[in-house]
C-alpha cells in the first residue's frame, strides 16, 4: 500500500516535471527577463501542507483553498516538495525535482487532484497580455477529480467540455456575472452557482477543485491585476464653437490681402513712373 502510494506519487511527479519542461518550452523567454512571477494554489481538499522549495521551507501550514505569492523566482530548475505540516522533507507526500521555471513568465503551480483523484502539481502559464478597455479576462482551470464539465455564465455555456488538467479562457465585458459548472452537455450542476465580479483590466483565474466522488467540489480563485488598457480616445465635442485653429478661409483672406497690397503697390508705382 505504502509502496504503491509512493510509486503513484513518483509517477505524478514525473508527469509534473514533464509538464514543467513543456511550459518552459512554450514560453518564449526574452533575454532580459530573468525572473518569473510564481504563485502557488492549493486545491487538494483536507490536506494542509508545508511547501519546500530547493529544500527550504517556503510555506508553512499552507491550507487548501489558499493562494500564495507571487514569488519572484529566477529562471532555473527547482525542487519542490509538499509535506504534511511539521513532517520532514524526506516524508514528502508530493515532490517534483528539477522543475523548470522559465524566465519572464507569470506561472501558477496548482497542487490538485487529477481526474482519478491522485494528488499532483500542474504548472499553468498565466495569460497576462493586456485586455481591451472595458473588458476582463476569465480563465477557468479544471483541477478537480471530476469528468469533463461546461462552464456557464447566466445559464449559457461559455466554455464547453473542459477536462482535467486543462484551462479555458476568454475576455468578456467587465462586471458581475452568475456562473456555474455543469457536467459536460448536461444541466447537472456540479459547482455553484456563484456571483463572479470580473473587475476591468484584471484576469480572474478560477480553479475547480476537489472530488466529485467525495462530494467536496469547490473553487479557488486567483486574480492578476494591471492588465488594463486605456480607452481608444476621448471624443468630447462636435460643435466647433471652441475651435482654436485658423480656418482655411482666413488663409485665403491673408493671401488675397498680400496680393492686393503687392498688386496695388505696383500699380501706384507704375502710375507715378508713367506721369514723370
Amino acid at each position: 500500500m505504502q509502496l504503491s502510494y509512493f510509486r503513484r506519487v513518483a509517477a505524478g511527479g514525473a508527469v509534473a516535471a514533464l509538464t514543467f519542461a513543456g511550459a518552459g518550452a512554450l514560453t518564449a523567454t526574452p533575454a532580459y527577463a530573468a525572473s518569473s512571477k510564481v504563485s502557488v494554489v492549493h486545491g487538494i481538499p483536507d490536506t494542509p501542507v508545508d511547501v519546500y522549495v530547493n529544500g527550504e521551507k517556503t510555506l508553512d501550514n499552507f491550507k487548501p483553498g489558499d493562494v500564495a505569492g507571487p514569488l519572484d523566482l529566477e529562471e532555473g530548475a527547482y525542487d519542490i516538495a509538499l509535506t504534511k505540516p511539521g513532517e520532514p522533507i524526506a516524508q514528502a507526500i508530493l515532490s517534483v525535482d528539477d522543475a523548470a521555471v522559465p524566465g519572464g513568465a507569470n506561472i501558477s503551480l496548482a497542487a490538485h487532484l487529477d481526474a482519478a483523484g491522485t494528488p499532483k502539481i500542474t504548472p499553468f502559464v498565466n495569460d497576462t497580455g493586456k485586455v481591451a478597455a472595458g473588458k476582463a479576462r476569465l480563465i477557468v482551470r479544471h483541477t478537480a477529480a471530476a469528468p469533463a464539465v461546461d462552464v456557464r455564465a447566466g445559464g449559457t455555456p461559455v466554455f464547453e467540455d473542459l477536462t482535467n488538467p486543462n484551462e479555458a479562457k476568454g475576455d468578456v465585458d467587465a462586471g458581475a456575472v452568475e456562473a456555474d459548472v455543469v457536467l459536460a452537455g448536461t444541466d447537472t450542476v456540479a459547482i455553484g452557482p456563484a456571483d463572479l465580479d470580473l473587475k476591468e483590466g484584471t484576469a480572474t483565474i478560477v480553479y475547480a477543485i476537489g472530488s466529485a466522488e467525495a462530494k467536496n467540489l469547490g473553487v479557488v480563485a486567483q486574480t492578476v491585476t494591471g492588465l488594463h488598457s486605456a480607452p481608444a480616445g476621448v471624443p468630447s465635442g462636435d460643435g466647433g464653437r471652441a475651435g482654436t485653429g485658423v480656418d482655411t478661409w482666413w488663409y485665403v483672406l491673408t493671401g488675397a490681402g498680400v496680393l492686393l497690397l503687392v498688386g496695388g503697390g505696383a500699380r501706384v508705382a507704375t502710375a507715378r513712373t508713367g506721369r514723370r
Partner: protein, 218 residues
C-alpha cells in the same frame, strides 16, 4: 489723380484691411498653450511601495473576487470657469472602444473602470463635452482657461468633498495623446479632466486635439 491710380490705392487699402482682420482672427484663436507638463508626467511615476517584509510569502484565501466598489465622483465644481456639474459613471463605447462621454453636454463622465475618489494611487479621470452641434456649449467649454493654482471640488457618492489644485494644462493631438499615462492606475493620486479642443474640422465634425487638465489633492 487718375482713376487707375485711385483703384490701385483702394486695392492697397483693401489688402491692409484683409491682413489686419486675418491677423486679429489668428491671434484671437491661438490655443491657450501648455503649462505644467513635466509636473503632470512626474505624477505617473510609480508610487513608493512598502519594502517587502522579509522573505515571507504572502498567502491569501482563494475566494472569488468580491465587488470592491470605488467611490464615484457625483458632482464637480470649478469656480474659476463657472462649472457646477453632475458627474455620471461611464465606461467604454462598445462600437468604438472610446470613452463614453455622457450624451448630455451639461453632464460630465467619470471613467468607472479606473480609480475612484478614495484611491491612494492612480488617475481619477473625468471627461466632458466642450460643445455639441445640437446642444451648444458643454460643461467643459472653458476647460482650456484653467491655469495652475486654480482649485476645484469633487464630491463623492459617499458625500465627502475633496479639494484639488490644478498643476498642469496640456493640449495634444488626439493621435499623439499619451492616454496610458492619463488612465494609469498607479502613480500619485490625481484628478485628470479631459475635453476636446484645438482646430475644428467642420466636415468631419471633430476637433483635432484633446485638452487635458491635471489636478492634485489640495
Amino acid at each position: 489723380m487718375t482713376v487707375r491710380h485711385r483703384g490701385a490705392l483702394a486695392a492697397v487699402a483693401a489688402g491692409v484691411a484683409a491682413l489686419t482682420v486675418a491677423t486679429v482672427v489668428a491671434c484671437g484663436s491661438r490655443p491657450a498653450g501648455n503649462v505644467g507638463g513635466t509636473e503632470a508626467a512626474d505624477l505617473a511615476g510609480a508610487a513608493p511601495s512598502a519594502p517587502a517584509a522579509g522573505p515571507s510569502v504572502p498567502v491569501a484565501r482563494g475566494d472569488l473576487p468580491a465587488g470592491t466598489r470605488a467611490v464615484p465622483p457625483v458632482r464637480l465644481v470649478i469656480p474659476a470657469i463657472g462649472v457646477r456639474a453632475t458627474v455620471d459613471a461611464v465606461g467604454i463605447n462598445d462600437a468604438t472602444g472610446e470613452f463614453e462621454v455622457p450624451p448630455s453636454v451639461d453632464r460630465i463622465g467619470w471613467y468607472r473602470h479606473g480609480p475612484g475618489l478614495e484611491a491612494q494611487a492612480g488617475s481619477v479621470v473625468v471627461a466632458g463635452h466642450v460643445d455639441s452641434a445640437t446642444q451648444g456649449e458643454g460643461a467643459f467649454f472653458r476647460l482650456r482657461e484653467l491655469d495652475r493654482g486654480d482649485t476645484l471640488t469633487a464630491t463623492g457618492g459617499d458625500g465627502v468633498a475633496k479639494q484639488y489644485r490644478v498643476i498642469a494644462r496640456e493640449e495634444y493631438r488626439k493621435t499623439k495623446i499619451p492616454l496610458d499615462r492619463y488612465f494609469a492606475r498607479d502613480g500619485k493620486p490625481r484628478l485628470t479632466l479631459i475635453t476636446c479642443g484645438g482646430p475644428f474640422d467642420a466636415e468631419a465634425r471633430r476637433y483635432r486635439d484633446n485638452i487635458v487638465v491635471t489636478a492634485v489633492p489640495a
